[in-house]
Amino acid sequence: MSYVDSSVAAGMTVTPPTTHSSWSRRDFIKGVIASGVSVAGMSYFGAGCTTPLPAQTGGVERLLSLTVNGQVRRVDVLPGETLAMTLRYKLGLTGTKLGCDRAECGACTVLIDDVNHYSCSTLTHRVRDREITTVEGLESPDGTLHPVQQAFIDELGPQCGFCTPGQVMSAVALLRANANPTRQEAREAMSGNLCRCGAYDHYLNGVMRAASEA
């Protein structure tokens, strides 16, 4: 039944990264395989559950400090836990969406040190001491939207809206790396974010508008 969904066997050790260099999907999968945790059936604890958490084994420190949207958050993280699960189920940041949980769709895109990453395929233990930005962290303190968010409204980028936070984050990452992209550059930079509603043209209009107005 492995094609349906794989089981999850948490409890083994994931070696945390020794450097802060970026890592690849291959590294991620290797890490997951090493931990005995399969990709498709990634697990998590539900925030707010009244039942005590069962004891876990493994040599990784579980209580982490994560820097999310400029705030240091203390959070209890399992060895094989993905950043998407930590954000959504431990920190209450549900703007980050899970569309596939297997690095295909980009709905879970967040920034790690200004670079867009699939948080469904990033182990939380590997982003200690990194700056994590989610869609909730883009607005100014006075509530002013980020230029990309405003441009997506002006161009009516979202349709169903489920992929939108990921599209926003990829656009923000692009504009931080390249403030004046061509439309072709934007198209390539955004290509890791699927939209089944097919709103690509409108999202690209939004990216170009945000670039011109920033």
Binding site: Y3, A10, T50, T51, G95, C100, G198
Partner: protein
């Protein structure tokens, strides 16, 4: 009246989508919430002889197991909640609830099943053979809700020519005119066998659901396109009265037909929650979406068409075998035939169809169900005829296109309006069809240019539903919408009709929606391209009811008769003396004091029970406008669309670069230009996927799926479509709608897919694949003059 309609605006829910504040079903949490996972069938058809769950139940943190005998059994070949006789790989057998999702999944893995494999089928034609397998133990077709066995004879199969669809006794048929006479009149004839693949919906949001119970009521958060329309059906799946269900679906992360009606899956957390007396969240994985997320039926078909010298179609004889999944399935084949009757208006026509059960995921409506498959199948053949007749591709469509007096379907019903000719004319002009056509076939290195035009249709409007609004004592207009939020923004745009009729500032309006406890009227679901037509009417009716009440209240309070009064600037005033007036706030206060119909305490008799309960929620809070849409509707409401594509095809790699796309809509009066643009372009993208990449694939030996991920089933990405796409609307009012509107969501997909396939055939100098999707290897095979790796009728090809 055009202060609001026809103008762009920011719909109220768009801000939440860009900030992440929009809450979808999986974004809700409850204290003590359990997680639920499904044990699904590993076989395409089997019987559960035994379940040993002792190991699972002994695991720490496992709370309960839910079996099929604990949930309402669904009558007939319906989609099950849980079952002990699964009919497709991935059908849920049981559910496990645990304190964490990890434990729930580990428990699933610890359950030992004893399964008896049963015969299965993944190819309809195989099932129709005299000794072919049946998808269900009691048969291979469904008629009037009953499973029947339906086989063709050896002679039927032998009668078909090599590679042609056999045509045994059909399960459905209709005809008009005299097809033999029609064919006799024709100058050329085509007799073509075709295959269109089944496809997944690929909604970005997996169909997660969360439920809990309070004071005997079930609170359910789930993902559906529709709000009120699904309410009674969901209540039935849970086994409760509709008034005991609070249904919350403020956002829906894509549905494309798969979440239009109630579906059994979302009742599982409700049943589990009732059993364990705790909130339960059930997340559905991407892989599970390929089993439980519905699918478009594939076709194996044959069409005979006769054409006069001028391109006019004299007769059509079409036979469609539909791959229906194991259950009741979908009505695509009949819808496809009706689409032919209106898109090409053949002078004579016969339709025959055979819907065959297969052990593949249950089928349901997918954007343009039937209409879009047939568009991708038939449109290239129209080009084939045009080539033989020496006609332009646009011209041959123009001569066959419907006009206002065209008739629809086998029963030849009237239609409300049709501007397909204008769509073709204006589209060809805007696209620069002539110049592009002139450079079709031009080669540069291994790349060759091609152009294509495609057409599609969907019936796009209904009537007889209810509208509800409240003018509050604060002077606000609350427009209650039961439509649902699919992402088209039509729930909002149709609400603007109420504001328009009442001459209210949009800033002063709130759309009340997303939660049945807020008092939402009975309306049709958000599907079938119908919202723009249907819900402008309901809002028009409710707003007119409010206008009447405003005038009556003014007459009662200020003297004179209601006919002396008019509305404007959110006041009701005497025509002869505008200073004799009540503000809407004052009128609402008066309505509360006067009671009766004015305050919603005496609702009209003809509204739906669900609307009646919604009125009870709002009664006494202001001036209540509520009415059933009793406006006249004379005929089917056609949404029509034409797409224009230019491509560059690489003959060495089979890669298709779509250079330009224009989609043109006949959707009546345009209500929201930007929203329409997103539909035309987004539908265009989805059509491209249908044409050249998306498909289900099932292994014929084991019945196992091979496309259970985006990378396998291939919806288009940014890089598969043009970075800019163009759109246009004919913008002519439909006489059947008070603001001239018709729907459009579905044909804007079919026309793009058809146009792309036509462009590929054009680039290849007139090779017609008679198959969707057209994959790169098929193009290379043609370019290098090799035969294809599949037979003409083969399904489940790569």
């Amino acid at each position: 009246m055009a202060d609001l309609l026809g103008k762009d605006y920011a719909p109220p829910d768009v801000s939440g989508k860009v900030t992440g504040r929009a809450k979808y079903a999986e974004d809700f949490r409850m204290d003590g919430m359990l997680f639920c996972r499904l044990l699904k069938s590993p076989m395409p058809h089997c019987r559960v002889r035994g379940v040993d769950a002792s190991g699972a139940l002994a695991m720490e943190g496992v709370v309960a197991i839910l079996r099929a005998d604990e949930v309402p059994e669904q009558a007939g070949p319906a989609n099950n909640i849980l079952t002990d006789e699964p009919h497709f790989v991935g059908e849920p057998i049981l559910a496990v609830a645990a304190v964490t999702e990890t434990i729930a999944q580990n428990a699933i893995e610890a359950i030992v099943l004893d399964l008896e494999p049963l015969p299965f089928c993944v190819d309809p034609l195989e099932s129709l053979r005299p000794d072919g397998p049946n998808a269900r133990t009691d048969g291979n077709t469904v008629s009037s809700g009953e499973v029947q066995e339906h086989k063709w004879t050896e002679a039927d199969f032998e009668a078909a020519g090599e590679g042609q669809l056999p045509m045994g006794e059909p399960g459905a048929e209709w005809s008009y005119g005299d097809i033999d006479a029609g064919f006799a009149e024709a100058s050329i004839m085509l007799d073509e066998t075709f295959v269109t693949a089944g496809t997944s919906h690929h909604s970005m949001e997996p169909r997660t659901a969360m439920a809990y119970w309070e004071n005997g009521k079930c609170y359910l958060h789930a993902s559906t396109q529709s709000q009120s329309f699904v309410h009674p059906g969901i209540a039935a799946y849970i086994g409760i009265e509709p008034e005991n269900l609070v249904y919350i679906a403020e956002y829906c992360g894509g549905g494309f037909g798969s979440k239009g009606g109630p579906y059994p899956l979302l009742s599982i957390p409700a049943h589990m929650s009732r059993k364990v007396q705790r909130p339960v969240l059930m997340r559905i994985s991407r892989a599970e979406e390929y089993f439980l997320g519905s699918a478009r039926p594939g076709f194996q078909g044959r069409i005979k068409m006769g054409f006069r010298d001028d391109g006019r179609i004299t007769a059509v004889d079409v036979y469609i075998v539909q791959e229906n999944g194991p259950n009741q399935g979908a009505g695509d084949m009949g819808a496809a035939a009706s689409a032919i009757s209106i898109v090409y208006t053949p002078l004579n026509m016969r339709y025959r169809g055979m819907s065959v059960l297969t052990n593949t995921p249950p089928r349901g409506a997918q954007r343009g169900p039937g209409q879009n498959q047939i568009a991708t199948a038939v449109e290239p053949l129209i080009d084939k005829a045009a080539k033989q007749l020496g006609l332009d591709q646009v011209a041959i469509r123009h001569i066959n296109a419907p006009t206002h007096d065209s008739l629809y379907g086998g029963n030849r019903g009237p239609i409300t309006s049709a501007y397909m000719r204008e769509a073709l004319e204006q589209g060809a002009e805007r696209f620069g069809w002539e110049e592009r056509r002139a450079r079709s076939g031009q080669r540069e290195g291994s790349k060759v240019r091609g152009v294509g035009v495609g057409q599609a249709f969907h019936s796009a409007g209904s009537s007889g539903f209810d509208g509800l609004l409240v003018i509050t004592p604060e002077g606000k207009l609350n427009i209650h919408s039961g439509v649902g939020n699919l992402g088209t923004y039509s729930y909002s745009t149709t609400s603007r009709v109420a504001a328009e009729v009442l001459k209210c500032r949009w800033e002063n309006c709130e759309i009340v929606r997303g939660d049945s406890s807020r008092g939402l009227p009975w309306t049709l679901g958000q599907f079938g391209s119908n919202t723009s037509f249907t819900m402008t009417r309901t809002n028009f009716a409710a707003a007119n009811d409010a206008v009447r009440k405003l005038k009556e209240i003014a007459a009662r309070r200020l003297g004179g008769s209601a006919t002396d009064y008019d509305i404007g600037n959110e006041t009701v005033f005497a025509r002869g003396n505008p200073s004799r007036r009540l503000t809407y706030a004052q009128a609402a206060q008066a309505a509360i004091e006067m009671g009766g119909a004015y305050s919603g305490h005496e609702p009209p008799e003809d509204i739906n029970a669900l609307t009646r309960r919604a009125v009870e929620v709002v009664a006494g809070t202001g001036l209540v406008g509520v009415a059933r849409d009793n406006l006249e509707r004379n005929g089917m409401v056609p949404a029509l669309a034409a797409g224009f594509v230019e491509i560059e095809l690489d003959l060495e790699t089979g890669r298709i670069e779509i250079l330009d796309y224009l989609g043109v809509a006949d959707c009546g009066t345009v209500l929201h230009p930007q929203g329409l643009a997103t539909q035309i372009k987004g539908g265009g993208v989805m059509g491209f996927g249908m044409a050249v990449s998306e498909r289900h694939v099932y292994d014929r030996h084991w019945g196992l799926p091979a496309a259970v991920g985006f990378y396998q089933a291939k919806p288009p990405s940014y890089l598969d479509v043009p970075s800019e796409m163009d759109w246009h609307a004919v913008d002519q009012p439909d006489p059947g709608n008070p603001v001239g509107s018709k729907g459009i969501g579905e044909p804007v997909m079919g026309c793009s897919g058809a146009a792309l396939l036509c462009a590929i055939s054009d680039a290849l100098g007139g090779h017609y694949f008679n198959r969707t999707p057209v994959m790169a290897d098929m193009i290379i095979n043609v370019a290098s003059e090799r035969s294809q790796s599949h037979g003409p009728l083969q399904v489940n090809t790569q």
